[in-house]
Symmetry: D2
Subunit: 349 residues, 4 copies
């Protein structure tokens, strides 16, 4: 339940304000170079302090490799990585411990388990994605020779759409936004919402270049099905679509089909997947990100005894999960690709 | 790879024009009534002959239970069900055996396996969903006492949107369309496209009533993540969204959060899932269905040697996967629910 | 629960007197030659009619490939194989339907499931092994190029031990007994016991030649651990040991350790496994087979209401599970090897 | 590969001389009391310093719970437990880093992975069992209400057999030996062998009382098959047998069958399992433990370049894995029982 993958198998653990967050990755091939420095460079991309509109929880987040690596090479044994939780301010949550915060998993965890760690969202916190970013970095590392590139950029913020896609150094832009000409408008909007103590979401698009054809399995483990599983398992996601996605439902078969000539596919409406298996074209998908539920405005809710409560959240305020979530989406994509590539090795009998 | 589920475990097998299609379901509790008649009534809902705009392949499709049931009761052992393939006209595919049909899995299967059963789409055919419908019917049966209801209706056809949702006997309407007042417009459109030899898709919405709260697992196996996996594993799907879905990315946190009062949730923007776990509200999701790729128009493609070919498909023509795909979506939803309910049993220690 | 294997994944289904017995094998590499004739030749080795002291149930047992093979080549899709049940004489079991036969699974299935198919042992019947032999034959086929050889012979019958091991054409000998000089003694014993309506077991030894080194996974999925799982899942087995096995517990470390020189290992006390991973030497293990529980003598038991009953089984009488069980042991061994070899492919990044 | 269990899912990680050893347990029901003190009391039973003939590596071994527990109650989320490695003397292994120690996994790990952590046996070290003992303790805890008792005692040491079984305070006896009257003889023998720098093994018997009937799954996941998998995955095991075990192969069916009367089973030759499912009687199995391979005597071996080497191991010397391995066998048994009991919950629909 807390594991993902068939061969490249990722298991994460940890609550937001517990001692640590961690991940165990099993099935990693041996003799691949891996250092803590590399992991920490990857982890730094998720650091909220880097991003103006992200939470100010200081997650200095140093990944420590506890096993599976020897003299900077993978051993083929499980790689255990731990990141200690720092700057934990559980007192901010003390007055909310019996109340279900709207938009959060407080109510459902309580219904499921009859108990919950109310400090910082517990297991349901976005803090858990630290572990995913580490696992994604390892997946990326073992795939190095394939020259696969993943771009995880933003094409819409609170309804403001990118009109063009410019991927040069997009990670240096606020919100990893694809269209630099729209940045001013978006930042002004973000500053306004931040002052209001409110939050917003957006749409992230992912493009994968150099993905081998033939990945994915017939029927249940189609490449897009498993990727949907992976991406929709990230907290704030509310939808996913591939290629033309929902728009493909509005056009005719003759418009949607990607014809071929001797140079290969002429169009890429499918988003690089046919019958659940990669075509070798760029793989394209988009993810809907909902607004972060923690807002500073007063909200109606109830406590565990059913009494109505007016909630006012104090503490640090995260205006938008983007672009940190883009990094997590990228990480999950690496994990899915690694697993399918390792699985495909069986064909080389 | 051809299996789905952790405890209620479904394995399907079979090629479109092979001897048969089948499914093995493991993990079914014992002592539950199950008959072939019941399965066949469920299967009949998928019968293309019932639907004006579906393929005219005659799939009389009688499910035969080969194991796991004794005197009309489940034994707790694997239930194997077989449906023989009839009315197979492989000669229609003979001239296409070396060519990759646009929009189909022909190219990707060839890339992956180096071989493919070209008759009727082989393993990638929608014919495989017969097995899913059988498994879904069994899932539905074992959940009877929960009084869960699933409605799988159409809210958009080729861009024509339902303006209201009327679920009285919606299965009797063409395309299971939610808005009876739009039916005339849609049927006229469908007849036109059929004459053109073209195809179209739409958007299916699913509503689940009486779903228990607390289903779904933290982190990777969130209810919506696993359901996305299940639904996106169906052939023609190109996207999925829960609750407000992509629209939640356009509004503010204060607008999107579902507040609570003593009567429970006041709104249902989340679609009945928080933190990946069901709230107990109606669960709502929508699925994008692409146009069926088999059209009668000429299309450019290549053969396995890379030569350009102009393809003209003859044979039976399926104008739209809806409403047969609605039945399959419903079946996969039952399977996911059954698996999560069985998994949740572990909490009752 | 009715599946085995991680990549080469075998799922069996079927009750002894149900319509059929079958198996689905997922994860088989594509483009490997496979015919029904080949499967039936392998299945014939398990045919009880060939063996003097086996049951006289006529299992003509023709395997029919229903999917996953096209023009005699594997497609990479699941291979479904069915064997219809013939010569089913359920009336022999009619008077036993409420009684728990000693040594059988009648009582435990009833306790577990609250229902059982009493006809011929239902799911617990050795009939299920037909499916395993088919799966083993497919595993063997895909491994052909490795030149692995498996010998599954008998070293002890009802306490009568082989004094030497002669593997020339051992399958032609009664009970696949390793020592031809002991055959007369054994056959005389078997005839006596058969007349008494009683049964006996023995010890089967397996030797695997040309097994690659490096198979097996650290910790839980050691080669010997997974093989023990596979072998102990066969009905009549009561113990397994590798190399010196139980005798290694009686000697000193200095005697038990296998030293090495430039030609490799000097001895093979380990049975070809160190730390759960194959050494590349011959792999050796032994399996204890209990006497078949169905005997013609009167036995005390109870019925499902707890009343004491004196049982007298009529019908066909199987004096010894050997050598049919040797064929099943061999099949399970092929399955385990195939799975580990496919899994090891991931290292070839 | 480093995970075990279907619902109660245990993943271990760590090398002997790495920073730490750990385990993640997923699927634990919520709201069960669990403290570090409890885990450490259980872990103390494995402490080599307690046992005269065990290694003198000081493993003070304090288990730290990193996640999944809140205010001493399980959360239902993964429980991560870490034990830091102390008293690591890697310099003892420095001169052996290129040499394959006889009886160890050095050679096979090198063959499999092309790299190995030579310090203290790396992943193949018995040190890994710390993680199993922790997981077993958690399994035991969640099963408390079932009143199941597991006795894991020694019935043979280097060929010296217990003549009677006395289980009063057997854990206080050297080697957990079942027969107190044989202790003098055994201790004298052990002292002699210790002086010689040699080692020995023995046979451990396990008795489980109050095990519910109906546990275990038909066909591949029989209770005894899965338990064999679990037990044979422990480093020094070379064989396992249930009930009469290998001796059942020497008697007749009429002698081996367990008859029943109105009080239940009259005998227990089966060891409490029929058809792979527990009968509710005491479950009995025996495990063959080989002598520890690390001995102080000179041994022939080769290095990674194939050169012959005479090995002389210095450092701490463990004369016998018993009784520490008894504790590990017990732990694995708890894990298997917990998993089957949780799995059986699905029947309570």
């Amino acid at each position: 339940m807390n594991s993902f993958g068939k061969i490249f198998k990722v298991t994460t653990w940890g609550e937001s304000h517990g001692k640590a967050i961690g991940v165990v990755i099993d099935g990693v091939p041996s003799n691949i170079e891996l250092t803590e420095d590399y992991l920490n460079r990857e982890l730094e991309r998720r650091n909220p302090l880097k991003y103006k509109f992200s939470t100010k929880r200081r997650e200095s987040d140093r990944a420590i490799i506890l096993s599976g690596v020897f003299e900077n090479k993978t051993l083929g044994t499980p790689i255990s990585v731990i990141v200690f939780n720092e700057d934990v301010k559980s007192e901010h949550y003390e007055n909310l411990k019996d109340v279900f915060r709207p938009g959060h998993a407080d109510y459902t965890y309580f219904k499921k388990f009859g108990i919950r760690d109310w400090r910082g969202g517990g297991r349901a916190s976005a803090r858990e994605t630290v572990a995913r970013v580490v696992a994604g970095a390892i997946a990326k590392k073992i795939l190095e020779k394939y020259k696969i590139k993943i771009f995880s950029y933003t094409v819409e913020i609170a309804g403001i759409k990118a009109e063009k896609i410019n991927l040069n150094d997009y990670e240096k832009r606020e919100f990893f936004f694809a269209d630099p000409d729209k940045l001013d408008e978006i930042i002004k909007f973000a500053e306004k919402i931040k002052k209001q103590g409110d939050s917003f979401g957006g749409i992230v698009e992912v493009k994968i270049e150099n993905l081998p054809s033939g990945l994915g399995e017939p029927v249940f483990d189609k490449f897009d099905a498993v990727l949907s599983h992976a991406i929709m398992s990230i907290g704030a996601t509310k939808g996913i679509e591939f290629g033309l996605g929902f728009n493909s439902s509005k056009i005719l078969g003759s418009e949607n089909n990607d014809e071929m000539d001797k140079n290969g596919f002429i169009t890429n409406n499918s988003g690089g997947i046919l019958g659940g298996i990669t075509t070798g074209q760029d793989l394209i998908f988009r993810v809907a990100i909902k607004p972060i539920p923690s807002i500073l405005k007063k909200q109606k809710s109830i406590d565990i005894s059913g009494n109505e409560k007016l909630i006012e959240i104090s503490g640090r305020h995260d205006v938008c999960a983007i672009p940190r979530i883009n990094v997590v989406i990228e990480a999950m994509t690496w994990i899915v690709i690694a697993d399918f590539i390792l699985l495909q090795k069986r064909m080389e009998m």
